[in-house]
């Protein structure tokens, strides 16, 4: 019993140290910032690199991040950003990925192929913000009346 806890602890520490080297290189060459804080790991990247980084994180042997907690969307001066909160079920380590969408666009690839939990969360974001998720078609509305396409959470004024 005690050996297992030590092994998990060592796995977690080693994996955190190696994480930055593993994720920082993406095929497109854009910048990926990784910060390892006391309670969680923060990653900031461009929206187009999201799927590459997630596949690498999911397939890691030592610390696989496989529990999607929530997807948060916000709008800052007309540009959208999505934050993905992910846990690892072995050590319950928190990971927070911020995907900044290119200015002026509102579409990103869907992650339902990797995390099935994302289906409901993306449907809600599409309904309230109008962000298009490529690959999946969200027709029916959850909260608003059918056919309502006003995107009430969008902010038209600055900030």
């Amino acid at each position: 019993m005690i050996e297992n806890i030590e092994q998990l602890y060592l796995k977690g520490i080693l994996a955190k140290v190696l994480l930055e080297e593993k994720i920082s290189k993406v095929p497109s060459g854009r910048k990926v910032e990784v910060k390892v804080l006391e309670k969680r790991i923060d990653i900031k990247l461009d929206g187009r690199d999201l799927i590459d980084v997630l596949m690498k994180l999911r397939e890691s042997e030592k610390l696989s991040f496989d529990f999607l907690d929530c997807i948060i969307c916000y709008q800052e001066k007309g540009n959208f950003s999505l934050i993905y909160q992910i846990y690892s079920t072995e050590t319950w380590q928190t990971l927070s990925i911020k995907a900044v969408l290119p200015p002026g666009t509102s579409s990103i690839e869907s992650v339902t192929g990797i995390y099935p939990a994302a289906f409901l969360m993306e449907q809600e974001i599409f309904e309230l913000y109008g962000i298009n998720f490529e690959g999946v078609n969200y027709n029916a509305n959850l909260f608003l009346p059918q056919g309502d396409r006003n995107f009430p959470m969008r902010r038209d004024t600055d900030g």
Binding site: K39, D66, F67, L68, D69, C70, I72, C73, Y74, E76, I83, Q85, T89, W92, T94, S96, Y115, P116, A117, F119, L120, N141, L142, F143, L144, P152, M153, G159
Partner: protein, 365 residues
């Protein structure tokens, strides 16, 4: 092509297991359910958008409306989010009273769930017994904070009031009374073969499937996964407390019932420990810095009676937040209903839906 003996039913509010307003379309062949589709959105009130025009003194009241059966959970989540972002220090006595309020809310919420669940199964006596005990628990929340459902009591930096010593004695008397009540519930329900015949092996969900969909709380613990935010990411002094996390085995309705009954006993033990050793000191420290001073982006989570409640706030040097997002545990339970109901009988649908403890004002916000 029209299949024979296939009926589409619209189940709604009059059934005792489906309280509030929630529609479930099920496709029935004979007596067995083939497919189901839940429809939510009847309580959508725009909580997140309303928060974008509220100043910090108004926020705790709005946060207490997230979870209607335990209003203090939302307030504590908002307070710890701001405290960790601005590095505010909270006195020990305030943390102890926050723990007291959260645990008594957990007891009240589970007793309220028990009354609805036993009504769905058909045991009306337990409905009356559980409601009577729930009212006594809500009375203590009222003595401390002034209101039963929306306390408006917890602010960043501490809490708004104090607890007197005669209230502590009444509290300990109530916990002794509750210890005598739990064997009665065991006699009426847990050890009763008629109750077991109606809830055993019904509505099973698999642990791996529940984890891929993001389930948390007592529903996940009934499947065998030991996940509790109070142990993984402790807050408000839970790291110094000694308590166990009850876990089930099979993931059926009986395990979800058993996990909640054991949690009531654990909460009662935590309360006895903390009320006997209450630390001295202030209950509120006025913060030296506020939301105007720097940009804040923070996510905090607490263990509310339904699961993991997460609050994300973002301030941009203004008094009102730019974004206030709530991550609620009941939305995932709604998506898992389909796996729990398929291939079960129509008469069991009310029992299964009621065993998940879905709070609809959380789902719709």
């Amino acid at each position: 092509m029209v299949e024979r003996n296939v009926v589409v039913l619209n189940l709604a509010s009059p059934l005792p297991g489906l309280d509030r307003y929630f529609r479930l379309k099920i496709k029935v062949k004979g007596e067995v359910v083939e497919d189901c589709k839940p429809e939510v959105g009847f309580s959508h009130k725009g909580l997140e958008k309303t928060a974008e025009s509220m100043i910090p003194i108004q926020m705790p009241f709005l946060a207490s409306k997230i979870d209607s059966s335990s209003g203090i959970s939302g307030e504590v989540a908002y307070s710890i989010a701001l405290e960790s972002a601005l590095s505010l220090k909270v006195p020990e006595r305030a943390n102890a009273i926050r723990v007291v309020l959260m645990e008594i809310s957990r007891i009240a919420s589970h007793l309220g769930w028990l009354s609805n669940f036993s009504l769905a199964v058909g045991f009306v006596t337990c409905y009356h017994y559980a409601q009577r005990d729930k009212e006594r628990a809500l009375r203590f929340i009222e003595i401390l904070t002034g209101s039963r459902i929306s306390p408006n009591f917890c602010v960043p930096g501490g809490i708004k009031g104090d607890i007197k010593s005669n209230v502590i004695f009444e509290f300990l008397d109530f916990l002794t009374y509750l210890d005598g009540r739990m064997p009665e519930f065991d006699l009426l329900l847990t050890d009763n073969k008629f109750f077991r015949g109606k809830v055993d092996n019904i509505g099973r969900i698999q642990r791996e499937h529940a984890l891929t969909l993001g389930l948390t709380g007592p529903n996940l613990r009934a499947c065998g996964e030991r996940m509790d935010i109070r142990k993984i990411a402790p807050y408000c002094g839970y790291e110094n407390l000694n308590f166990k996390v009850p876990v089930g085995r099979r993931g059926d309705c009986f395990d979800r019932y058993q996990v909640r009954m054991k949690e009531i006993r654990e909460s009662s033990d935590i309360l006895k420990g903390i009320l006997s050793n209450m630390p001295d000191g202030d209950v509120y420290i006025k913060p030296l810095i506020d939301v105007h001073s720097r940009k804040i982006e923070e996510y905090a989570r607490v263990e509310c009676p339904h699961g993991e409640l997460g609050i994300f706030i973002k301030y941009d040097l203004k008094e009102v937040p730019t974004r206030f997002k709530v991550r609620t545990p009941s939305l995932v339970s709604v998506s898992l209903l389909r796996d729990a109901i398929i291939n079960q009988r129509v008469s069991d649908v009310g029992v299964i839906v009621s065993s998940f403890d879905i709070c609809l004002s959380e789902v719709d916000r």
